[in-house]
Symmetry: C2
Subunit: 172 residues, 2 copies
């Protein structure tokens, strides 16, 4: 069974984060139209015991950063989760996109078998490929989609095209 | 750049659908505790112009089915979206899990380059690997997470462990 190239997935994470930035623009647009501060959206949640939008975006940024860094055996930049404003959270996304774009294929040499420690399970880890496919990627999509869901629930007019973004087409 | 083995992802889709079945059990449990019909949850939505839970589950089932079938060049079983009851939608999930489990590695021979027609873009298609990674998998995670979000928004006590499920650990 051939393993996926984890490196090949990194530009995809980057693309989905750039899509997310577009959703945020649509959120800011709605705020303008309805005359409220966009930062109000940052405290919106789907359930009282679930992260609000701001924390979901911090989490999707971290999920992307850790997905790439941990399997590549790199130490990612630290983010202290101190963002409070709309501009600060957008800058956080930009920073992670830039970080993802710094990876090269050589960084993923041996990544499939590299054991990644799991901070939430002391003494345990998972092989790179298992960590990436079974934990990091589903976790990335989780916070990405919760971000989408909170914006959508609050009236931002998002649809599948905004979620999927562009990809390479061929004529039939 | 090595391409991922799409076949290797099929058991993962299957696992995530089995996780979803657990969330549904938790939903049924909440309904029992709070004394309402579980089917009430099937009409819940996050936004008036977004699919309700029932349609989200039909969509995640289709996303999984089409992800595997289209890149493998197979014609998947037709589902008419006639489910109305809790039991019927659970049976739909079971059917798709069973269908996914019927794929073999040989089914994905040449799948990376196989052109998959895009029904929503007449005359256009995408190469198998592009379709799978950029369209089918993000779309699967979309409806999976909207399902999760609707249940969570309606008070079902789900968390990250229920979402991620189990994966192979190693001792450090």
């Amino acid at each position: 069974m051939r393993a996926m190239s984890m490196y090949a997935s990194v530009p995809h994470l980057s693309k989905m984060l750039r899509n997310l930035k577009e959703w945020m623009s649509d959120g800011a647009e709605l705020a303008k139209t309805k005359d409220f501060e966009p930062a109000v959206l940052l405290s919106a949640r789907l359930a009282p015991d679930q992260y609000p939008l701001l924390r979901q975006i911090q989490a999707v940024c971290d999920a992307a950063k850790f997905a790439a860094a941990r399997v590549a055996g790199k130490t990612p930049p630290v983010h202290e989760d101190t963002e409070q404003t709309w501009e600060q959270i957008i800058a956080r996304i930009d920073g992670v996109v830039q970080y993802l774009d710094s990876f090269t294929e050589a960084d993923f040499e041996g990544a499939e078998e590299r054991v990644v420690p799991l901070p939430f399970l002391p003494g345990k880890g998972a092989k790179g490929l298992v960590y990436f496919n079974e934990m990091a990627i589903p976790n990335f999509y989780f916070h990405l989609n919760m971000t989408y869901a909170i914006l959508r629930h609050n009236g931002v007019a998002l649809g599948k095209v905004a979620y999927i973004g562009g990809f390479e087409l061929v004529d039939l």
